[in-house]
Homo-oligomer: 207 residues x 4
DNA sequence: AATGAATGAGGCTTCATTCAT
DNA sequence: CATGAATGAAGCCTCATTCAT
């Protein structure tokens, strides 16, 4: 059962250092990567945001790519955990979908910088790290897919194409990190509420 | 009337050189930028895709940023023209929406490389060029918004929030360039048909 | 009184770094600039003279032009101080003139490389730096002018045109850096002694 | 007799093309070299001054260095001819010296751009061309030297050191191209008259 | 843990020059 | 003759990274 897989991931891991300094570096780097892309960000940029010298990150991360990997890994892991936790599996598919979409949307809005790194900087990872991350991404996509499939099965959802609709809902949520804040929205919850309703419409269970 | 604005944009323009060589460079650069980001792409990368020396682009573009600008400008311009042309303004809002979403989705799928440059590399533009591009982007968003507004007015659409739903539909279409091909789709038309239907669901006019 | 201005200039200043490495770079660069001109000198040339990599100068100077500025500034400053210090203001104009011309000539001969940079590379400075340097140059010219004026006043000098003769004496001294060593001279003092006598002839106080 | 050597030099020569276009290029290049140094001048700079493309100079000069050589050669040649012609060998040494210094000074002032190239860009010449030019330079220096020696011999001049004084007078004249126009002078004749008088003072024959 | 100096590699761009037109 | 496109070499400078301190 993949629900229990998340447990595996909450073990203390060696990718994402828990030291305070390392965490600060991750935050600064995520912002820089989000603004300028991985390739457009220099170690100087990151260090400058922290008032440190460029050499200061090396005791914490072996390289710039390792830093990206840590950010990406942590971001994906948080997503998996968040979505898994947000799914009230004993409720109706509609309630479950609304809950998960609300949580996912809110997270993308709140952590839009991190979100952009997670979504747009995959190609800058080393092949090994890329593979590592891909397994987490599949996990994310499946959380919503399971719900759609459950709704389709019990007839509460009417979908032309489970995979396609799943893709669309995930896509909708993911793209939030690109434009938020903007388009008239500055409150993550407002987008989250709207998108929860729109997701229900997409599965033919809307108002 | 903003419908007629597109006419203004079809004038021969000075940003996007029409020489054969310049066009080839734009294509190669768009692919490179899409794969590695603007900051992650070198002038060598671009030249190598064309079998030219890195210096060969300079008779055609003053700098790497000017090249990005030309690609971005052309991409946005094509989008505006495409969407405007795809809107059968005498039809019902539902027909219009389906037509425009189908066209937009198909374009993002077919030209996903160009799409990524258009959507994700805005921050690499110089401030002046960025401003220039922003005016085109507003135009794009308004095409779908006008249709939603028409449908809301005549009662064929039921939307909780015109701006929010407009944002969502645009977002859905735009994000296609991120994942296509993938998620089981390799045919632009298949995604386009699906998304046309999903857009109708989002405005409360779905099947 | 402009005699006291030199004091202002002896303050530790921020243009000319006092670090050992920065000073070595200045010396190597001055030699290179003197031999090949600023535009004809590469950062590689300079680094090679020191056995360093071309990048090694950048922790010390922001750019090649900043390096030129530091050399030029230091050179002009040393000249001002040298001339000021060499003027025994309580002596007769003839003694003063001989002393100052001897010192100036000797300096131009001894530091001919630096002298060429100071005299011939002004146009390579940025406009701001050029302006900064000009104020120092005016100071230099005035040291000898004051002496000529004093001699003209007390009748010990007979000059057709104070400004013109001043220009000529300065010109004579300055040009030493162009040809020295050469023309049969290899000893700075020999030229200095000759030029001290010639300067007296120019003011009509020669033997 | 070296006076007659100049005849040899007035033969039509192959270095300095007499075509109109080639001459225009030489003028533009001399100005550019004078302002920015040989190394600091690009073929584009030169072409831009003429409203031509950088490739346009190649039908006239094989390379940038050949162009410098032509300018330098022509400049030196003109100097030799000028000085030789300006020396009224039947007059007294004082008259001869005044005449030659006046001519030399006036030329350096009038042709200060060309003068700078002639005096300061020797090191940019190829070794072969450099050698070629050196023979002309020796000729120049000898014109004044002969006069000083004649004056010393007949007692009209009193000089401590013929070679040194010769060096000084040449140096004085040459340095004019560095500062002219400036120092209050804009009329070549004014400097020429002053310097003629100063030269007489330097040889102990002044007023 | 953090830094400033240093570096090899490489970035973008310009250079002098060639060549087809 | 003159040009615009092209190029190999090179220019200045920045990069990620190391290392002594």
């Amino acid at each position: 059962m993949s629900e229990t897989d998340a447990v595996r991931l909450t073990r203390p891991n060696t990718v994402v250092s828990e030291s305070k300094a390392a965490a600060r570096i991750r935050v600064a780097a995520a912002e820089a990567f989000a603004e300028n892309g991985y390739g457009g960000t220099t170690t100087r940029d990151i260090a400058a945001r922290l008032g440190l010298s460029p050499a200061a990150m090396y005791p914490h991360y072996k390289s710039k790519e390792e830093l990206l990997y840590a950010i990406s890994y942590e971001g994906h892991l948080l997503c998996v955990e968040l979505l898994t936790a947000a799914d009230p599996i004993d409720e109706t598919p509609a309630v479950r979908l609304a809950s998960v979409v609300r949580a996912f949307t809110s997270w993308q809005a709140t952590h839009h910088a991190r979100g952009r790194v997670v979504q747009y900087e995959l190609t800058a990872l080393s092949p090994d790290h890329y593979r590592e991350i891909l397994t987490l991404r599949r996990e994310i996509s499946r959380v919503i897919e399971r719900i759609i499939r459950a709704g389709a099965k019990d007839g509460s959802f009417v979908v032309p194409d489970v995979a396609g609709v799943n893709l669309a809902i995930n896509s909708l949520c993911v793209d939030v990190c690109r434009w938020f804040p903007g388009g008239g929205f500055t409150d993550p919850d407002a987008v989250a509420d709207l998108y929860a309703e729109l997701a229900l419409r997409l599965v033919g269970a809307g108002t």
